[in-house]
Assembly symmetry: C2
Homo-oligomer: 318 residues x 2
């Protein structure tokens, strides 16, 4: 079975590609390399059955051509930049909603009937229930990113109902691990490289996050696709406990052997639309037999270690 | 205060324009007249302070120009064709999601900070709770129409949070009344004009609907905009009781003086994505002081009477 992975050169996408190849799947990765990184697929390129198509999801003709012959789609491509949504409000709509529509239309044209999709815990907005279950009270969106991912979820669900497809939707918390080149670990690492004595922290450091390690995340997705039998299967994915950003700063400082003076920009959130507390009820995926293997501190350290061993990423992005 | 009404030549939009003018507002109606009907604005055109701009919401330059000087937006324009979503899946996305984005972007550019938006009870998918409250369990979308309206809701909410706007979102059941040129009353009326002895009914006739009369609907919207103080205010709007399609057929047959032989296409829904039972909990809008003045049977009869008195609509669409 050939599997199609959009965003296959991205952080989670490239790990998924590696895993699928290791499991014996043939894989076509589709990525415009705007934020994906070709070197993440160096291992994959040496494997039989792998192909990379450099293409854009807005190019519907190329997308359809590349997807032909595939039986399953992991639609991992996204604008994952939650924080700067208000600076370019059209980007989330285009990248996360319209591109999802384009993927679904290509599937429909080709008769591809199964899709897995990473959504976000941000769709719960300011949740009223913690930990937040998949059937939490109908939330109000607070970020353009969450809104665009919810729209993607909605499109996939409607296509499943209307066109006989099946879908797996995963509401992620933040994911950490090798190849992670966004988010606070990456930011703090870069800041501390520049000045190990001072660190500015957005918000008050008390934002709570249930960071999940990338290989645990992929375990969960593959397990759900294998075992969840519904037409539309929605799962929260996250670590079943949380830390504060301040904890993470301690882990990072300890690993790097630095003692920066912290200054806080203040307020209970890092930016407009940031959510100070996303903590998802993951009992549904746990009940399928998933267990995370790597704790949050270890995930932070593995992320750092990879960044230290792969300075080219930092340089490529500075 | 000049008010901007997109879809101002449509069924609900044109009634809203009339009402706003009667209340002393200046009104700019913006409509591409693709489904809106210019004659619906015959009264409005005679009023001072009214202007109609024939324009498309995809034409962002014209939209912005037309909106300049307005202080409030009723974004009534939509593809309201729930039933044929699967025949043109891009239409809902374009008309109900992308166009809503365009309206929000025009507002942001011009500093217009308040928007009211008709969404749909279809966003509850196959609801698990009846009557369904606004904070029902997070639903799974079942129609492209519902998905596109939910995406519109989400965009509006995120803009309110991110850009200091305020929004009023109304989840409608089906609305009936003068100028209604879609839906089962219109369809049955046309079919019975052609053959008063036979009537084909989609589904089994047991689909339950809480039809709301258009002027009651407008009362509710205006009341909520006046009294609901939140950043994002979400209200179910519908009649607090329901009938079955079969009841409606009885009302129609009685009013027309016909006794058609009914044949049913079968199944518990009229089409893919149709929901056999949408019944919303409207206690939130009732608690603001709203009361519907026209019952469902009377709403059906008023719709029919208007169709009989305005044969030109029927002819224009046949």
């Amino acid at each position: 079975m050939r599997t199609f992975v959009t965003g296959g050169a991205g952080f989670i996408g490239s790990h998924l590609v590696d895993r699928l190849l290791a499991l014996g799947h043939e894989v076509t990765a589709y990525d415009n390399l705007s934020t994906g990184i070709g070197r993440f697929l160096d291992d994959a390129r040496s494997k039989p059955g792998f192909s990379l198509v450099q293409g854009d999801l807005l190019d519907t003709a190329q997308l359809r051509e590349a997807m032909a012959g595939c039986a399953f789609v992991y639609h991992m491509a996204a604008n994952a930049d939650v924080r700067f949504g208000t600076e370019h409000p059209g980007k989330d709509l285009e990248q996360n909603t319209v591109c999802t529509f384009n993927v679904l239309e290509a599937m429909r044209a080709l008769g591809v009937a199964e899709i897995a999709f990473p959504s976000t815990g941000s769709v719960y907005g300011e949740a009223a229930v913690f930990p937040t279950p998949e059937d939490a009270p109908f939330p109000v969106q607070t970020s353009l990113y969450g809104a665009s991912k919810l729209a993607g979820e909605a499109l996939i669900s409607a296509y499943c109902e209307g066109f006989g497809m099946r879908g797996w939707i995963f509401r992620f918390v933040s994911v950490l691990g090798e190849r992670y080149t966004h988010g606070h670990v990456f930011d703090f690492y870069r800041k501390l490289l520049g000045d190990p004595h001072n660190l500015e922290v957005l918000g008050n450091g008390h934002q709570k996050k249930a960071y999940m390690y990338v290989h645990d995340c992929i375990d969960a997705m593959l397990l759900a696709v294998e075992r969840a039998p519904g037409t539309v299967n929605i799962f929260n994915l996250g670590y079943p406990a949380y830390i504060e950003v301040n904890d993470s700063i301690r882990y990072i400082a300890a690993h790097l052997g630095v003692s920066p003076k912290l200054s806080y920009t203040g307020g209970d959130r890092g930016w407009i639309g940031d959510n100070p507390f996303i903590f998802l009820d993951v009992s549904k995926i746990l009940s399928l037999g998933w267990q995370p293997k790597v704790g949050i501190e270890e995930g932070v350290v593995r992320t750092l270690r990879w960044l230290q061993q792969n300075r080219w990423v930092n340089e490529a992005r500075l």
